[in-house]
Symmetry: D2
Subunit: 377 residues, 4 copies
């Protein structure tokens, strides 16, 4: 693990998610750019001192030098955005697979270089778009792919949060400080942080690609350096239209990602905060409540579920699905087997490239006087 | 009543809404452009034959000729859009107050003429934007006006319906036939029919005015002549941003008008289909569920409620609030009293003008290559 | 109308409900046991002075003496329980049909006398169990009757309210004063007031009859004279079991009547406070959300609906369904026609007798040491 | 681990729950009464062969014989009910702490013996009543304990499931087979399996103890040997009344445990299937929606939460809270520290004794003609 020291938010989430299925064990780490913090963190995570590295270059070099069976199998990078690219490139160069947080890099250009590196090395990069790993999201995607709703006509995705309603970065909130700092986060705040989740989810479920957008990108809280809010009109490759709203100044909201998709013959609705429910709507029949863990669900939904129906799964299980599928894919490959369709269903470097393209396009559109902006990669 | 013959949808709604409080009685009508249908309808509504007119000009002239105590007090116009302007102008000319469906006219120009006529005659025109008459919408407006949320920063309003997901106008659906016909409905279908409700509600609750918009207006169902779907970026006069979605091709949706508004200090959320609940959100305290009929509500909410808490009110009660307030205003005036603030809280010709301006601006923006379009009246 | 003077709660509800469909007009009234209040109330309701009677005997006698076309068609009795029996018997004796609030009388014995009188006179008595008149309750009953759930096995009905959580009757609350007074309400408070609604609803939807019960009847608030809370175990005539909870000390609850019914093949759930939704549950398929106003509903549900789907109906519309069906039945009879099955679907004197029997049995069981108590009429 | 072989339901849940926080590692196991299955299962769980025991006596003896630092720290017993007592007693005798599924034993008598053994050995027994470990349940308990609702007056707990609506035990359903078999499950099916969860939750949140009950216990599905349904009237030690419903024939229900508690000054409501929401109700103020992970929550709720608000936690996290608190208690003790109040907040052998007493009392009451039955231990 690179980053994710003892007080980091997302590092702890990664460790839990990786633990859940007993397939993955924390092996070593360079948990902080500060060597002492790194070592102290590692000890707290029950690692032997020899596995608490002072820096990630040291970790990669040392691990690479020990016998294969004893070295780490892959690297998880959970640093802020600006510190994704270099360790990811280096990990791949050393021959380690990579799990990395979104947005994948600081720029689309870096993302493309990383994609090229993945291609050259034949290694696997898993990007942690957690929301696409919920069972009912899998179900939604499958029902769309099976043409149960006919051609998709409209996609409405919204992601309101309220935690940046005040200038928290001036009040000592660590998460706020780096996420609103262009040198750490890149050219976008809100769109990079949560807009990318929304666009990835929209494309993942609908099976469509955004081709045009028209963005209204805002800095609502005075004194902030990056966008904290935006509304985006969308066009998709099959002609469907859409709307994407991402906001971190929606005061009173927690993490209220919701998506609605409408096709010729019906529609669906999913809310991240009640993730075990998928509403499926029909013009001439009652709306149906699909629920996690029931026999009537698709194989892909069931594959990503651990508990019987009525025993709610949550964010950590969705996160764990990413790790589980990634690990099962590695295991299959190491055993010379073809991983199944369900195993390889996790976001990869290609999603990372699209995410970075989304950020660059949406910010450029926001600054443009032109109405429709082609989504360029 | 002008229009609203025996098979008309909205005519029946108007009659029920007017009946509820026992303040208004159906006195006479020209219920159809077909004299025989008009007379047959009137009989069905228990009117004496002398009060079933063959045409609205006949009705206005005859009623005007009888003593004031025996003539009708006001006219309700429930014809399709294209047949609003002429009877409304004539009614005002004869000295009758008017209740009229939205959108008020076929064009902004007609709307302005009607506004001018209202001004000249000193009569009252009530426009039936039903949704703004729900008790919890009154509550929401009051809480915003009382600055409980601080300055408003963001407005999200969506109005998905599914009833035009197919080309119903070619399948004999009467509502669909006139609502998708430019000669009956004007330059817009969906935006005129339900987009105007959404924009009126957004402005009513927020107390803000739309100043700019950027519209994506779509005809989704092949063969349709008017828009059946649209997504609109909004800017308001205080700098707030917003998004308005109206769609009649959201397959599987009923009448799912929802609004969320966020201010500096909190936010609110209201769903038309569960209208007795208003969610009030705070950054550092639990979300509150405000419910119709409780003592903690504002006077304006209570004034528009008939039943104790827990006894749900619905669409017809909201509609009846329009009639009740309009009637109480007329009664107060006839008694030489000043109507209260609660009584005069119904949409008027000014809302009708803004609604027509919304239609013309949003359609023009939809056709424009320019990103931001000034909202012009 | 007997009772229901200007400050009475339920009188106003009755007038609105009767108005809604334009089938019924307030003709005359004896609105109070105080002649002056009666006359003042009548004037407020726009009645001519000649139709504001000083007492109900005067009203019945006078109305009976005028030509049939000019006299009232039926009597609505909206007095407190203790003043139901005498006017109802007298109205029937004078040949007037009767609408009456539940519980029908002060005692089961009175109820049986009334039933006998109805039988003798051939007149119609409509008992206002409002909750059984909601469209989705009609739908639920139909689905059970059509055997969609197989044999019914379990019925869970609960009716918590919070308005008597304190000793409101000592704080001047008029509703509380009479409803907790044995001389006005009879032998039961909570069970009579709302337990009867719950048991009627359970029997109405399930099509079953309670045959045994085991009741825990409580006076929770110190100083109260009648029960304000109770839990009851039930057995039905087909062997199904059930539970009925009624409470007026469920602090923080509004009027939260809910029912769940389970059969061999599925179940259903309905909440009065969101009455346009009926959940239909299946063991091997997604739960379905049946919603008022949709084409897939039964004729009985549609017959009791006024607005299109997505335009919520509420308590007043349910109440109005009672009046509408009652009125349509009278009209059909007066025209020598057979009223339809839908028209005659309103609670009658038979429901009133069962309701009074429920009260007497449940209170007796509450006092008994015996576990199972036969439901006796 | 004793039991929980590769195809067992609850064993997998235990392993995930124990893994989540990285505090506990699967060390060894006797996963089946069949030695070969046990060894095969252990291998599948990545255990070295030396740690896959052929039986639990072998495991206890062997582990006990190796140095303390290398041996297992505690035993988890996840066998069916009938195979709880013997291994638990033996484990305690060997000096191992115990985690055990509910119901704790086959009989109250066994439970008391186990309690005595725990007392004598000074070891710790953790009973996995998962539902009491949800953050919002902790919050509910704290608010009651802090007297925010005044004296508790009424407790309504219901636990409907539908999975035994048919005679699944004759259709090869393994869970159904042992859970409906008296020799494996004891004297009760439904009440033992889920009624104990409901009663434990009711007592845990309310802080009250059941003192009397009156039970209607049913075998609804023909051919079943143990109860699959029941309704129970309750009295608590402070005079409060209550109702408990548990059913496994509620066709179409998943795992719908819900509880409502009312005090003098307000009430609360929690649903297991949406566990991150706690409704808090007040007579004169809007209902509040308390949500997991927010700063306004109690320390006990926050201590049992891993993710920020809006990132839903589920059943596995609740289960993991049991293991985490148990492990933290063991760690504190091993370090000679006093565990905190939050650490020791997990169900123990005392809950197990109460649970077994609940089963014996409720079944006896179900068979009795007597109305109120004293809750005896």
């Amino acid at each position: 693990m690179v980053g994710g020291g003892k007080d980091a938010f997302i590092g702890a989430i990664h460790r839990i998610a990786a633990n859940i299925d007993g397939l993955i064990e924390l092996h070593c780490g360079a948990f902080s750019s500060n060597p002492e913090t790194s070592i102290a963190s590692g000890k707290e995570f029950f690692l032997p001192e020899s596995k608490c590295y002072r820096s990630y270059p040291e970790m990669f070099a040392t691990e690479n030098s020990i016998p294969k069976e004893q070295r780490m199998d892959f690297v998880t990078i959970v640093t802020p955005n600006f510190a994704h690219f270099a360790p990811a490139m280096m990990a791949l160069d050393y021959g380690f697979h990579v799990v990395i947080d979104k947005p994948m890099t600081l720029s689309l250009d870096e993302a493309k270089q990383l994609q090229q590196k993945v291609k050259e090395t034949g290694l696997i990069l898993c990007l942690t778009h957690t929301y696409s790993a919920y069972p009912m999201v899998k179900q939604a995607r499958k029902m769309v792919a099976d043409n149960q709703f006919g051609a998709i006509r409209k996609v409405m995705v919204e992601y309101p949060q309220g935690w940046l309603s005040t200038l928290s970065e001036s009040e000592g909130n660590k998460q706020a400080i780096w996420r609103t700092d262009p040198s750490k986060s890149g050219i976008s705040g809100c769109m990079g942080d949560i807009g990318t989740h929304a666009s990835q989810l929209a494309e993942y479920i609908s099976g469509l690609k955004i081709t045009k957008l028209c963005a209204d990108i805002n800095i609502v809280v005075q004194g902030r350096k990056l966008d904290d809010d935006g509304n985006v009109l969308l066009k998709f490759d099959n002609g469907a239209n859409g709307i994407l709203v991402a906001s971190q100044i929606a005061s009173g909201e927690e993490n209220s990602l919701k998506i609605k998709i409408y096709g010729e013959k019906g529609g669906l609705e999913w809310h991240q905060m009640e993730p075990n429910t998928l509403l499926v709507k029909w013009p001439d029949a009652p709306t149906q409540i699909y629920r996690t863990g029931n026999n009537y669900l698709s194989d892909s939904a069931m594959f990503n579920t651990r508990t019987p129906s009525g025993h709610p799964e949550g964010y950590l299980e969705a996160f764990a699905n990413l790790y589980k599928n990634f690990a099962l894919t590695l295991i299959a490959q190491s055993e010379g087997k073809e991983p199944t369709e369900e195993m390889i269903d996790f976001p990869t470097v290609a999603d990372g490239v699209r995410g970075m393209a989304f950020i660059e396009n949406v910010i450029a559109s926001g600054k443009s006087e032109q109405k429709w902006f082609d989504f360029k990669i």
